[in-house]
């Protein structure tokens, strides 16, 4: 039997002190279920619904060493008005940038309803002292970030120091104040679905508003089965405590068709209540244009060349 994570003395859980059992995950059956959900055939109106929802759920992301204020400004414009040719296309949920670019992003999206998310806590590795991570979090929030995407300390997790991981999330949550906290598990470093489930429950117990698959910096980022595994953990927490935690698959979602598969999986696992950007985000950069292309095809009946969609 798996051991419950050791909780720091005196710590009170966010809601009721009940959590679902850690349990385990059967990899073969999980992957089968994910594959079978991916075969749903979503057509016509139901497809347009999904694609528009996908746009509203995107965290439009740029996380490069070469990011500049100019690049982020362009990204922000794209986020607010994804398809200049069609004002009916909604804005995306947020732009996601490195800390240094938060001020630019905040200035550019002001008043649009688009949120600014900043990665923090020594993204992507998380291998820095806690105090410097907390300073970083406080700084991005002061600069106006609405959301903080932190990484867990995988080194601590994989060496069994769950309390350290837990404590760090709690401290980051405090430091983030009113900003929404997304906790990145970096699933491809965790190695097993059992670990993904355990880390998901740990993050939710520590106060995560969202759990997120990946930094996007490693191959094998978000997959349908790993996302399903995390959705099932979210469902268990909801059933036990009534608390709704959000989900963010990130990395590797490039095609409109994939985004529909992710939404079908969400719909059939957590239900219609989760079909909102408040509880689901898709971390992506190139996905948006493919979704726009599909939406235009649904409207006009023809595919248009990539040249008709802006590359911001």
């Amino acid at each position: 039997m798996a051991q419950a994570p050791v909780l720091p003395r005196g710590f009170e859980l966010p809601l009721e002190p009940r959590l679902p059992r850690i349990g385990s995950v059967d990899a073969v059956a999980l992957e089968e279920r994910a594959a079978s959900l991916a075969k749903r055939s979503i057509k016509r109106d139901s497809k347009v619904f999904a694609l528009e929802l996908a746009v509203r759920m995107i965290d439009l992301t740029t996380l490069e060493g070469q990011d500049t204020p100019g690049k982020v400004a362009a990204l922000a414009s794209k986020a607010i008005r994804p398809d200049p040719a069609n004002a009916d296309i909604p804005s995306v949920a947020a732009v996601c940038v490195y800390p240094n670019l938060v001020p630019t992003a905040v200035a550019r999206v002001q008043g649009s309803g688009v949120k600014v998310a900043s990665v923090a806590t020594a993204f992507p590795s998380g291998q820095s002292p806690l105090e410097s991570k907390l300073d970083e979090v406080r700084w991005v929030v002061e600069q106006g970030a609405d959301e903080v995407d932190m990484v867990i300390d995988r080194g601590a997790f994989l060496s069994g120091r769950y309390a350290k991981v837990y404590d760090e999330i709690v401290r980051v949550k405090e430091a983030a104040g009113d900003a929404h906290l997304k906790v990145i598990l970096e699933v491809s470093e965790l190695g097993t679905y059992d670990n993904v489930r355990r880390a998901s429950l740990l993050a939710m117990a520590a106060g995560a508003d969202f759990i997120k698959t990946s930094t996007g910096k490693l191959p094998g980022a978000a997959t349908l089965p790993v996302t399903l595994c995390m959705l099932e953990a979210i469902r268990d927490v909801y059933e036990e405590t009534g608390r709704k935690v959000g989900m963010k698959p990130a990395g590797g979602i490039r095609q409109a068709k994939q985004s529909v598969q992710y939404l079908v999986q969400l719909h059939e696992t957590l239900g219609v209540e989760w079909l909102t950007p408040d509880l689901y985000r898709i971390g992506a950069s190139s996905l948006l244009n493919d979704v726009l292309m599909q939406l235009r095809k649904e409207r006009t009946g023809a595919y248009q060349s990539g040249d008709y969609f802006t590359l911001d």
Partner: protein, 497 residues
């Protein structure tokens, strides 16, 4: 304490997300108005016919033959002639070639067969497309490989064909059961008279076209359609050397009585009331998927369906809660819609049987839960159903329902699980869900069932033998074991069999 509600500027949550209909096109299938019987490589006119329908809509599809004893005799004579005139002396590698051809043609025409299977049988297209057709082709491929290696399958026993095999198959997996029967029979060098089930004859009739495409010599496979009386005529026909039957235990027993003392070989694959056993350390969400797959796959029209759920009492509540929640997401409806998870009940008669047993369950005091779903008005439909508070003595825990109806019982210890699982006249299959490898082996040693699945359910493979204990029948289909009923082996001659 964290404020957990998203209060301000919340985005709108949609009321629902209805998937648009996604029907598989029907026009790939061309049906004749009237079918005869396929005898000696030709269609012969049927003296009597009946109408076969789509159980999802009750729409008539075609007139098919109701074979008389004389027509059956004609088919048996054709099979005997084909056996004597050459099929038994065709070289094994040539036999393999025909089987490989059949397998490939089935793959090429998979969509056509899948649509027809769903149309005539009511099962969802995603199952006929992803399960029935690939497995049917796989069986022909698998036994094609054995045709010229029989000496290696049964070393030192001089395997030889038996002669004419009479094969009677059920309506739950019409084409797949045909493949299970015909592939090993031909690989072993026999000829065949096969009768598909009364309610689902169409894919077997379409299969005759595949036989022609594969240029199988005339008379090697003969197909006659009809009800139980046609089946009885095959069983009693003088020229038949072996009977293979898949269907109800009641009919199986009657066949066995009929054949006693005739020297005809017999294999029976009959009913089941399988236990699907969930231990408290199982991966719960996946176990729930396994429960759903175990009993709602093919509307529960599965002889090895996991119709008795045995849950360890310590996890009874979460399992039942999860299962009920999952049931609400099952999409029941048009079998040809690619998003349907559960299709139509195969026939009016079967629907009545399910209704009768479900009523008995309620009367005996079990608590019923049915998934909230809107059933189509026409056709034969039954909502996925779960019974809790079921005692081992209730009819719903004893009798095979053969429908989408699950009975949930509890156990406390592994010993009790084994005891309850085995406490049935059947013994076709069982499922065990636990993360503990040693417990899987411990359980498998003790469960008296032909197949024991661990952390999965309803998984089939041509290389894996399938068959029952006790009233679930005898003889094995699939794998090397599946060849044996179609062969004479020196060993058996020595014992006068």
């Amino acid at each position: 304490m964290t404020d957990l509600e998203h209060t301000s500027d919340s985005a709108l949550v949609p009321k629902d997300w209805t998937y648009a209909p996604a029907p598989e096109a029907r026009d790939i299938v061309t049906l004749a108005e009237r079918y005869g019987h396929f005898v000696g490589g030709e269609w012969i006119d049927a003296a009597e016919t009946y109408t076969t329908i789509s159980p999802a809509t009750e729409e008539p599809l075609a007139e098919v033959g109701q074979a008389t004893p004389a027509e059956v005799e004609q088919a048996v004579t054709a099979a005997r002639a084909a056996f004597d005139d050459g099929w038994s002396s065709v070289s094994p590698s040539e036999r393999a070639k025909y089987l490989f051809r059949i397998a490939r043609v089935l793959q090429e025409r998979a969509r056509e067969f899948a649509v027809l299977e769903s149309l005539n049988g009511g099962k969802p297209i995603k199952e006929s497309r992803d399960v029935d057709l690939p497995l049917a082709a796989a069986h022909f491929f698998y036994y094609a490989g054995w045709a010229d290696k029989l000496e290696y399958a049964f070393p030192n026993q001089r395997p030889r064909p038996i002669g004419v095999a009479g094969q009677i198959i059920p309506w739950n997996f019409p084409l797949l059961m045909l493949a299970w029967k015909i592939a090993p029979a031909l690989a072993a060098g026999n000829t065949v008279v096969l009768k598909p089930a009364e309610t689902t004859p169409l894919t077997a009739l379409l299969f005759c076209d595949v036989l022609r495409q594969a240029e199988l010599p005339p008379g090697v496979v003969n197909i006659v359609t009809g009800d139980g009386s046609t089946g009885a005529a095959i069983v009693t026909a003088g020229g038949v050397d072996k009977i293979a039957f898949t269907g109800s235990t009641e009919v199986g027993k009657a066949i066995q009585r009929e054949l006693a003392g005739t020297g005809k070989k017999l294999t029976l694959e009959l009913g089941g009331k399988a236990a699907n056993i969930i231990f408290d350390d199982a991966a719960l969400d996946q176990a729930v998927e396994g429960i759903v797959n175990g009993i709602y796959f093919n509307q529960g029209h599965v002889c090895c369906a996991g119709s008795r759920l045995l849950v360890q009492e310590s996890i009874y509540e979460p399992v039942v809660d999860k299962l009920k929640r999952r049931l609400a997401t099952l999409r029941v409806g048009d079998p040809l819609d690619k998003n349907s998870d559960v299709g139509a009940i195969n026939s009016k008669q079967q629907l009545e049987k399910i209704r009768e047993l479900v009523a008995a369950g309620e009367e005996e005091g079990a608590e019923i839960y049915q998934a909230p779903c809107r059933l189509p008005e026409k056709g034969y439909w039954f909502a996925p159903t779960v019974f809790t508070n079921v005692a081992q003595s209730y009819r719903i825990a004893q009798e095979e329902i053969f429908g989408p109806v699950l009975s949930i019982l509890t156990f406390r210890t592994p010993d009790e699980a084994v005891e309850k699982a085995n406490n049935t006249p059947y013994g076709l299959s069982a499922g065990v869900w636990t993360e503990k490898g040693s417990r899987i082996l411990w359980m498998a040693e003790r469960l008296r069932a032909g197949v024991v699945w661990a952390n999965t359910y309803n998984r089939f493979d041509p290389s894996s033998p399938f068959g029952g204990y006790k009233e679930s029948g005898f003889g094995r289909e699939g794998g090397r074991h599946g060849l044996e009923p179609y062969l004479q082996l020196d060993e058996s001659e020595a014992f006068g069999g």
